[in-house]
């Protein structure tokens, strides 16, 4: 049997791309859910919600993600909790990024002028309507640019899951490099792939940003010349 070449491993490595993207997408979904819940908890008037939220945030921000991942995958089974590798990976990545991103969500929510809450409250709109239809649409434009950053960070972050047997780009690259006995070409390739994927995601985030801004009326052309009375305060706030 002739020894394999780099080209023999190429398809095997490329098959990691969908896996990496899949893990990124799922972990970002967890990130969004976790960060909204933690942000609302942190913003709550009730200490019983504020406290645990703060604890979770500090726990995940303040300890090694890799160790957390090993815990979820190798240690939890001793306590009778058996998470599949994918679930453990997605959960740990999402909780990590979610802990950071909750601060973005929180500051986005807090950037909506109190007048908006007051108007909605005095009109008698329900708490759910106030959050999803009044506050959130106005907070989104502020949160989207950091969301783009988080997305790219997550893409790179996913290489951690290769250490719990998930066959993503990094996992396959490690295997290929070990089999070939040479690492330069393989790692050179995947760094280019990660870079290209990051560019792609950043571009997608920019499109999302434009779409959200359009929906929020931020780019609407002002037909009246008076800027003081026509530009609402929130539009002047830092958009990150």
């Amino acid at each position: 049997m002739t020894s394999s070449t780099f080209w023999d491993f190429l398809p095997f490595i490329l098959m990691g791309i969908p896996v990496t993207l899949e893990v990124t997408a799922m972990a970002m979904a967890v990130t969004i859910a976790v960060s909204v819940i933690l942000a609302l908890g942190r913003n709550s008037e009730l200490a019983i919600l504020r406290w645990p939220a703060g604890f979770v945030i500090e726990l995940f921000r303040g300890s090694s993600s890799l160790v957390q991942l090993f815990w979820a995958f190798y240690v939890l089974p001793f306590f009778g909790i058996h998470l599949p590798a994918l679930a453990a990976g997605v959960l740990v990545l999402g909780l990590n990024e979610g802990s950071y991103f909750s601060e973005v969500v929180r500051s986005g929510l807090n950037a909506v002028p109190t007048g908006q809450r007051e108007a909605a409250l005095t009109l008698g709109l329900s708490p759910a309507y106030r959050f999803f239809r009044i506050i959130l649409p106005q907070a989104l434009p502020i949160m989207i640019p950091p969301f783009g950053n988080a997305l790219v960070t997550m893409l790179k972050f996913t290489s951690l899951v290769s250490l719990v047997t998930i066959q993503d780009l990094s996992f396959r690259a490690n295997l290929a490099a070990a089999s070939l006995g040479q690492s330069g070409a393989v790692y050179g390739l995947i760094i280019v792939i990660y870079f290209a994927l990051a560019l792609l995601l950043a571009g997608a985030a920019r499109l999302l940003e434009q779409w959200v801004n359009r929906r929020a009326g931020r780019l609407a052309p002002a037909t009246s010349g008076r800027s003081r009375s026509t530009v609402p305060e929130w539009a002047l706030g830092g958009a990150g």
Binding site: T122, G124, T223, S224, S229, V231, W234, A235
Partner: protein, 276 residues
């Protein structure tokens, strides 16, 4: 600050409402402080059905806080507030009054509406949506009927051609008229106006005052109006309350309070306002 846009013209005395009618806003011993600053100091206030009451006084004197207390944006430290007969922060039970929370306040708020100084329109919605959404989601009216009613209200305030514009595309005066229509849509028994022209450029003040004046003359809603437009207050109010340091220091008809004030603070305040 700006000059008084309206000439002083006193309201005819016959519009003063009868005292026999039950009060739509009723405050007893209401007190509110922020930190150690006492903003509202043991206020008793009754506003009769249909009565138009103007609140004047220097900034920080507690006028705006009175409105925010009346609609439950601010909870009083002491005292009771009733809107259209219902206690805002209390429930009446067999054992007397029990404290109640936000859920209860939300029901009582149905009878009262407010127009803010900063309009507070929802920037991501068109003028029509701003007025229509509460009709759909608070009153539970069908979408079509809500659209029709919102359109009619916006036409009434002169915004027929601006239905599908976002607030950012409207002038301040137009935005404020949308805000008025939005509050009117819910057909409150009491309307609060919190310095509704203070954030406007001078040339836009008139259009908003005209709408409020027309409303005051045509509707039988009770109104509490905080304003620095003395001529406007004189024109539409049945009663004027002069606030200073969290208390009502003078009250009476516009003729009494604005033309012949007896309290030195009122005299001083009016001189300062009218001299601008």
């Amino acid at each position: 600050m700006r000059s008084v846009a309206e000439p002083i013209a006193l309201a005819p005395a016959h519009r003063a409402s009868s005292l026999a009618a039950p009060a739509l806003v009723s405050m007893r011993g209401v007190r509110k402080s922020y930190g150690d600053r006492l903003i509202v100091d043991s206020i008793d206030l009754d506003v009769a059905a249909g009565e138009k009451v103007a609140l004047i006084g220097p900034s920080g004197s507690g006028k705006t806080t009175i409105l925010r207390l009346a609609i439950g944006l601010v909870k009083p430290d002491a005292g009771t507030i009733r809107i259209a007969g219902d206690y805002l922060w209390h429930e009446e039970g067999p054992g007397g009054l029990r404290p109640a929370g936000e859920r209860h306040a939300r029901k009582v708020r149905r009878s009262i509406g407010i127009v803010f100084q900063q309009f507070n329109l929802f920037p991501h919605m068109t003028a029509l949506e701003n007025v229509r959404e509460p009709l759909v989601h608070v009153l539970g009216l069908p979408r079509k009927e809500s659209d029709a009613r919102a359109t009619e209200l916006l036409c009434d305030v002169g915004l027929k051609d601006h239905l599908s514009k976002r607030p950012a595309q409207l002038s301040g005066g137009q935005q404020q008229r949308v805000a008025i229509a939005r509050s009117l849509a819910l057909q409150p028994k009491v309307m609060l106006f919190d310095e509704v022209t203070s954030a406007l450029d001078p040339e836009l003040v008139g259009e908003v005052l005209r709408v409020v004046r027309k409303l005051a003359q045509a509707s039988d809603m009770s109104m509490l109006i905080v304003t620095h437009e003395i001529g406007f207050a004189a024109d539409i109010a049945d009663r004027v309350l002069m606030f200073d340091a969290g208390r009502i220091v003078e009250e009476g008809t516009p003729r009494q309070v604005l033309k012949n004030p007896s309290n030195p603070r009122t005299q001083q305040f009016l001189r300062a306002v009218l001299e601008r």
